[in-house]
């Protein structure tokens, strides 16, 4: 190994087989052996401090503990485990977010969206709140799903797109309802109304039927104008649909790629059966006021806020 010490003849293990068969002894370097012992000592210390040995249904819990605050606000001290570690880290993150939430709570909406730093906080905190609570129906980007939920990114709003209206919608929920007309109106009358509704957005329709539908729409017989307004643009107080903008419809299978007859049939179907699924739940019991405020600002900034 070193020439400073006179080198010796090669060492053997001392075993001799068959009279002359020997084995060279190439021992491990000392540092390697000591490093191995160090890992043994490390393991022993680890066993004492952390969960290690399975014991039937349980395991040795170790001496190290973690203190955290759970979701109910109780302070818990438990033996070290990864879930408690996560909770502790979540506590820490929540403490770091707290000043921002407090600032959001104390700032009017109009100022939040004009302040780059606060609006960036709202966009990131709001995004995680939205994905956890809203995206199941309204989809990840708030684009909504035809037949299920409203598009929150465009300029059409059923109940209004101001900060106050959005906050009201999230806090108390909404219940959109249109009665079925199959028992009130005849098939001809429904067809006339459907042609009229389709013609409102400039789409091809039977003009004669549409004219009759116009009269019917504004009559006491069908009384459509009562909810949808005289100009058929909907009324945000009750969340009735804007019949002049098929692109904003949620419940009617209207497609610009369909034939006019298919679209008339789709509208007639809605008039016959009504709308009863337009329910958004209330969130005031599930979200805190500041979470609702962050979500309101986030939804407002999705593109359609008024």
């Amino acid at each position: 190994m070193t020439d400073q010490v006179q080198s010796q003849a090669p060492q053997t293990t001392g075993h001799v087989w068959d009279g002359d068969l020997q084995e060279y002894n190439n021992p491990l370097p000392a540092w390697w052996v000591w490093a191995f012992y160090a890992t043994v000592v490390f393991a022993l210390i680890y066993w004492v401090l952390y969960p290690a040995w399975p014991l039937g249904k349980g395991f040795t819990k170790g001496m190290d503990t973690i203190t955290y605050v759970n979701n109910l606000g109780q302070t818990k001290t438990v033996p070290w485990n990864t879930r408690a570690l996560l909770m502790k880290e979540m506590n820490k993150a929540a403490a770091e977010q707290k000043p921002y939430f407090e600032k959001v709570m104390a700032t009017p909406y109009a100022q939040i969206v004009h302040d780059p730093e606060l609006s960036n906080f709202v966009l990131s905190a709001g995004r995680s709140l939205f994905l956890n609570n809203c995206a199941a129906c309204h989809q990840s980007g708030g684009q909504g799903l035809h037949g299920l939920s409203a598009n929150l990114t465009d300029d059409y709003w059923l109940y209004g797109g101001t900060f106050a209206k959005i906050q009201q919608t999230i806090t108390y929920g909404r219940h959109g309802y249109m009665p079925p007309f199959r028992d009130v109106l005849s098939g001809t009358q429904i067809a006339q109304l459907a042609n009229y509704v389709v013609s409102l957005s400039g789409q091809p329709a039977d003009q004669t039927a549409a004219k009759a539908g116009d009269v019917l729409f504004h009559s006491q017989t069908a009384a459509c104008y009562y909810c949808h307004g005289v100009n058929a643009k909907g009324r945000s107080v009750i969340g009735s649909a804007n019949l002049t903008a098929p692109v904003s419809w949620i419940w009617t299978a209207y497609r610009s790629s369909n034939t006019p007859a298919e679209n008339v049939a789709a509208v007639a179907h809605t008039i016959e059966g009504g709308v009863y699924k337009g329910v958004m739940p209330t969130w005031k019991d599930r979200l805190t006021p500041v979470q609702i405020k962050v979500l309101t600002a986030y939804v407002h900034e999705l593109g359609g806020g008024q």
């Binding site: 021992p27 491990l28 969206v113 990114t153």
Partner: protein
């Protein structure tokens, strides 16, 4: 060994202690100056003040929590690290280049393992004396003298190791405050842990393990051999000259002058063993090129000293190439760079260094990234226009807050809707985002596939960055 007799042997090989003798010479001087330079830089740099706006006045500071890296007047953000990774490439190729030319010069003169070991040997020699004194001390039983000298040696080693560890962490926080917090017990736990680990590893690697680090742990020592070529200059023993026909011989009466030795067929090597005694890894260079040799040149200094004293020419041990050593008519030792490998490495270094300088010199003072919001792909506005929305993130890499404006190219005015934040002010070193919409009439939307966003920094030394993003519209 007799058959049947089993001798109990240890399971492991104890380190055979090495007591390098000190030597004077040009390689020793070079090594010492490199050591002084490296220590001055490593230990001094964290204490070098540097006035800087809005950041700690420390010339070199790696601020991990804030993701900012200060190098004198340069502030580097994580986005620039890909550029700096060029530095690593340059360092690697430089290593290959140098190794191809002059062997393991890095190991012998620049490697921190070598430098720290060298310094620890200085301490050892200062406390315990020259090689014979150290061997005597090693062999003598434990008594007062041995305890005092050993304790002093190891104590000084630990002190140097501790200061090495502390200096390392001083690069990651404002050093004066860190030192104060450290000694008063207020520094972060990770600071104490890092210093403890680095103290222990420095002490073990430079004080106890020494050449074993190079021989057993360092992968570089093992693969450097493949970079050698026959032309590479390595520390070599001139075997023809040293051994002669009848081998080396200790001088005695009748075998002293070169003529006498040549007549009897003996070479110039007087077998004094000084080259072995000075070797920090304890090898005999006369056995030829070995993987343990760190190419420090101390044996050259040793041999030259002896050659001078016996009146023979210098250079029995010297930097020379394998070709020369094996040849009967050797050239004068010279750097041979006219080789494909060396030229290739050299070209690679030149290209990458120019690229790095160019990249650093032309790097923009801010970063822009534009992301298309794809859920939904687009919205239809009440007037039939198609709107696509984008998130624009701006990172300000300057030392002061800056304001940025946004525009789009080649589209009618009013197409870009900025929303509540028409101008974005970003504090120094931070990045903020705005959401914008691009609204186009139906016909224009159908033929538009890409939007060219231009972000402009207001004020003097401003500048613009253009970024392209997809535009999705209703297509028939």
């Amino acid at each position: 060994m007799e058959a049947g007799i089993e001798e109990q042997r240890g399971l492991y090989q104890k380190r055979i202690p090495i007591f390098p003798r000190s030597i004077k010479g040009k390689f020793r001087t070079f090594k010492t100056s490199m050591l002084a330079l490296a220590y001055a830089v490593f230990f001094g740099l964290p204490w070098l003040p540097w006035s800087r706006e809005g950041a700690p006045s420390q010339a070199v500071l790696f601020d991990l929590p804030h993701r900012e890296f200060f190098l004198f007047n340069l502030t580097i953000y994580p986005q620039d690290l890909i550029t700096l990774s060029l530095l690593l490439f340059i360092a690697a190729v430089l290593l290959f280049f140098v190794t191809g030319l002059v062997g393991r010069a890095f190991c012998g003169y620049f490697c921190f393992q070598t430098l720290w070991t060298d310094f620890f040997i200085f301490i050892e020699k200062w406390v315990q004396g020259e090689r014979p004194a150290r061997i005597r001390l090693y062999k003598q039983p434990w008594n007062g003298e041995k305890i005092v000298k050993m304790a002093l040696t190891h104590g000084l080693w630990l002190l140097v190791a501790f200061w090495t560890g502390f200096t390392f962490i001083a690069y990651y926080a404002y050093a004066p405050h860190l030192l104060l917090a450290f000694v008063t017990g207020h520094a972060a736990g990770v600071a104490y842990a890092t210093v403890a680990i680095l103290t222990a590893t420095t002490y073990v690697a430079a004080g106890l393990a020494r050449e074993q680090v190079c021989m057993y742990m360092c992968p570089y020592a093992r693969f450097q051999g493949v970079m050698y070529e026959p032309e590479t200059l390595v520390v070599s023993y001139d075997i023809h000259r040293g051994e002669g026909a009848n081998g080396r011989a200790v001088p005695h009466a009748g075998l002293k002058t070169r003529e006498e030795r040549t007549a009897l067929g003996h070479g110039d090597c007087v077998d004094c063993g000084l080259c072995v005694q000075v070797c920090p890894v304890g090898i005999d260079i006369r056995k030829g090129l070995q993987y343990s040799c760190i190419s420090c040149g101390l044996c050259i200094d040793a041999c030259n000293t002896i050659m001078d004293s016996v009146g023979f020419p210098r250079g029995l041990v010297r930097y020379d190439s394998e070709i020369d050593i094996e040849s009967d008519q050797p050239d004068k030792p010279h750097l041979s760079w006219r080789r494909v490998r060396t030229i290739g490495y050299g070209a690679a270094i030149a290209i990458m260094t120019s690229l790095l300088i160019y990249k650093l010199a032309t790097r923009a003072s801010f970063v822009v990234s534009v992301e298309d919001i794809r859920a939904p792909l687009f919205d239809v506005m009440p007037n039939g226009d198609i709107r696509d929305r984008y998130q624009i993130r701006v990172t300000n890499k300057t030392a002061t807050a800056k304001t940025y404006t946004f525009s789009v190219e080649n589209l009618p005015p009013g197409s870009l809707h900025l929303g509540a934040i028409p101008e974005l002010t970003v504090p120094s070193g931070q990045s903020l985002m705005v959401q914008v919409g691009v609204e186009l009439p139906h016909e224009l939307a159908e033929e538009t596939h890409e939007i060219h966003f231009v972000v402009t920094q207001k004020g003097p030394h401003g500048g613009s960055i253009e970024q392209h993003a997809h535009y999705f519209g209703e297509r028939d």
